[in-house]
């Protein structure tokens, strides 16, 4: 490459597309069509860079100039800056929210510089719709090595030795699962990639599929060779249309190049991959339910005692089921070796973890960090902490199966085991940061509402237990909680955990139990003081502070129940009429409307 040459990368992840990446790409295409430019500038669509919040993103390589929130009107200026001498367009550079300085290079942005992107190595760098790009970054080299240099036993040894644990949530050792499937008797076996990603608040599987689909396919083919399967399936949510499209393109291209199909790379090994679109049911992420769903049935987990899917899986045959990210790690382990993989992470959780960092943090997006990193490093180091000077309250991990961790645990190194010990879970890797404006009882109610609706209904503890817990939580957030409710929630929660049939039920109470454990006083305030400190629930006594009131009358204007009265130049709220809709609280320009606790004796009246 002469130094006139450069590549312009345009992110085409779902986030950037929704921000308008498509028109940016086409106007770049138009501008670059001029002769001198055409020879020197390469334009490339890529998958997700992870920093969705700053999208649409445009990156100029080889320097790595990082332009954020690009608009079609900026395209001309970007193209002008490329030739004859490459300059940086300062105005479009990312501005660090903490130091308020503009940062020219991708690698220097704190959001990226603190990460270790290995599974996400290609995401945002290659064109996911062109297999040549994947091949150019060592793609399918691991498959070649596996087929021609290693026996299936050696591959399984390597995976076992690496310490890789399933990244779908439970963290089951991958090598052990592969060995069990390989040992299971039978000629016909299947490999399934779990891309159901039902956790609301997680999008890492989607980003990997959208940004680097071949790495997942390569991992699956190697798995097929290792366990002795000829057919693979990707079970992907139909709600992810872009991921589905790119999977179809990727499998077709892989078939064309002989990485899939009969006689792969001339080795005699036969393997193909079919794409199955999940029709939208959280419980179908569970292995036995997922298998039934592919068979065309209702996805209800099999009852206990159930055989392992590795022995009796799809159509009764031994089946290997792993998560998207688990498969995406495999080519790396084969190429760089298990020692390299095991060199990162903690004693019992090796490698990296991918989290979707969302909620009340300055920098949201997809991140990849070593296992065992401290929560503080994620929330503050990468995420930049809560924006607008708000106080940090908690981190929710693991989605509906996980729990909330308070500020005291910010220095806890996080991996599979430490999260479980703290009453949460790794789950699918959602990390949602909440600040003082979030009510923990409402968060618990929100998750219970989700699991209660998604419960398949076949076992009683889950079906009725989650329903009863939800009823109690709704009562508490409406201000009708009664003494004993917290203990009732704990009692039911423990039983739902213990007696439910599948992982949905056994983890469903986690959001409630963990918030009771760490934020009990918020529950107590809701029940005994009819007060919500985050001002999310319609609770509390509304009062106008006369010394601060500027008599603008806006509160009176928005009040739908006529509770705001004015007498002799003084505004006040008639409690009997107030329905606690918070309109006055929100509209007051000087913050003179106060929401206060009731005293317990006022409540019982």
């Amino acid at each position: 490459m002469s130094n006139r040459q450069c590549t312009v990368l345009v992110c085409q992840g779902t986030g950037c597309i929704s921000g308008g990446a498509e028109p940016i790409y086409s106007s770049l295409e138009g501008e670059i069509a001029k002769p001198d430019l055409r020879e020197n500038v390469h334009l490339k669509r890529t998958g997700c860079h992870g920093f969705c919040q700053q999208g649409p993103l445009v990156i100029v390589e080889p320097e790595g100039f990082f332009y954020s929130k690009v608009k079609p009107d900026d395209v001309h200026e970007i193209v002008q800056s490329l030739l004859p001498e490459r300059k940086v367009v300062k105005r479009l550079l990312y501005r660090d929210p903490i130091t308020n300085k503009r940062i020219p290079y991708y690698r220097d942005i704190p959001f990226y510089s603190k990460q270790q992107r290995t599974v996400l190595r290609n995401c945002g760098k290659i064109n996911p719709e062109d297999i040549n790009d994947y091949l150019a970054s060592n793609g399918y080299q691991a498959l070649r090595k596996a087929l021609f240099e290693l026996t299936s036993e050696q591959i399984i040894e390597e995976v076992k030795h690496s310490g890789l644990r399933g990244l779908g949530g439970a963290g089951f050792p991958a090598g052990q699962k592969w060995e069990a499937c390989r040992r299971a008797p039978g000629e016909v076996k299947y490999v399934i990639c779990n891309a159901d990603e039902g956790d609301p608040g997680a999008f890492q599987d989607r980003s990997v599929l959208e940004g680097d689909p071949h790495s997942v396919l390569e991992g699956m083919i190697i798995a097929g060779y290792a366990v002795g399967a000829k057919q693979g399936f990707v079970y992907v949510r139909a709600e992810y249309p872009l991921a589905v499209k790119r999977l179809y393109i990727a499998t077709a291209q892989a078939r064309e190049r002989g990485f899939l199909g009969r006689n792969i790379l001339g080795s005699g090994f036969v393997f193909d991959i079919e794409i199955f679109q999940g029709a939208g049911a959280f419980v179908c992420g569970e292995s036995t339910a997922l298998v039934l769903s592919i068979e065309g049935k209702r996805g209800m987990p099999k009852s206990l005692p159930r055989p392992r899917t590795t022995e009796v899986g799809l159509w009764g045959k031994p089946t290997l089921l792993n998560n998207v990210k688990t498969f995406a790690n495999i080519p790396l382990i084969i190429i760089h070796g298990s020692e390299w993989f095991a060199s990162r992470g903690t004693e019992r959780s090796k490698g990296t973890a991918i989290y979707s960092l969302t909620g009340k943090v300055a920098n949201c997006g997809l991140i990849e960090v070593p296992m065992g990193i401290k929560l503080r490093e994620i929330v503050y180091g990468i995420g930049g902490g809560p924006p607008g000077g708000k106080a940090f309250k908690a981190v929710q991990t693991g989605g509906p199966s996980g729990g909330c961790l308070p500020a005291e645990l910010l220095d806890m190194p996080i991996d599979f085991d430490s999260l479980t010990a703290a009453g949460s879970m790794m789950g699918s890797g959602g990390v949602v940061v909440v600040d003082e404006d979030t009510c923990m009882v409402d968060v618990a109610r929100y998750f219970l509402d989700f699991t209660q609706k998604e419960s398949c209904g076949q076992c009683l503890p889950c079906r009725l237990g989650t329903y009863q817990m939800l009823q109690i939580l709704e009562r508490i957030t409406r201000g009708e909680g009664v003494p004993g409710d917290i203990e009732r929630l704990e009692w039911i929660g423990r039983r739902v955990k213990e007696y439910s049939l599948c992982g949905l039920g056994t983890t469903a109470p986690n959001p409630v139990l963990s918030t009771i454990k760490y934020f009990r006083e918020e529950y107590e305030e809701h029940i005994y003081n009819k007060y919500c400190r985050a001002k999310v629930c319609a609770l509390g006594m509304f009062r106008i502070e006369p010394d601060e009131c500027v008599l603008c009358g806006l509160c009176q204007g928005v009040c739908e129940t006529g509770a705001v009265k004015e007498i002799r130049n003084k505004f006040f709220i008639v409690q009997d009429y107030c329905n606690k809709c918070k309109s006055c609280y929100t509209i007051c320009p000087v913050g003179a409307v106060r929401v206060e606790k009731y005293l317990p004796k006022e409540v019982t009246k």
């Binding site: 779902t14 997680a202 996805g299 969302t358 989605g399």
Partner: protein, 158 residues
Amino acid sequence: MEDHLSEILPSYRGKRSKLIPILQEVQAKFGYLPEEVMRELATFIGIPECEAYSVATFYAQFRLMPLGKKRVAICRGTACHISGAPKILEATEKVLGIKDGETTADLEYTLETVACIGCCALAPCLRINEDVHGRLTPAKASELFPAPSTNKGEQDVQ
């Protein structure tokens, strides 16, 4: 209607295991799962009609009633919830004159809530057909739709 169905079915060769892909394709063609079609496809793959319905009603994707031309999906993922998704839903319900799960009488809009559309970094967000709109406020959400008035009649879906 039979014409469409005869295009879809043969490629599946009467396989029970293909029920979900068939339902997905039927819904892609018709926008929902019409009663006659359900009857016919059950016969075709040789299962009782009730079994076809048991699957169709288990999964959130399938609809037994016609949907509006524009499907509005309000994301209720965690990140969206804590960033104010309930207010977005409220505003959208107001401007469209329908509630969650309903379709306008002129079959123009269907409003639904979904677990997560995976754009958490842009919370709160909603999707109209394939287009995602992020970083919403109730006011911005209302501006995505024509002013209320015509959309009065209500119709329940599922």
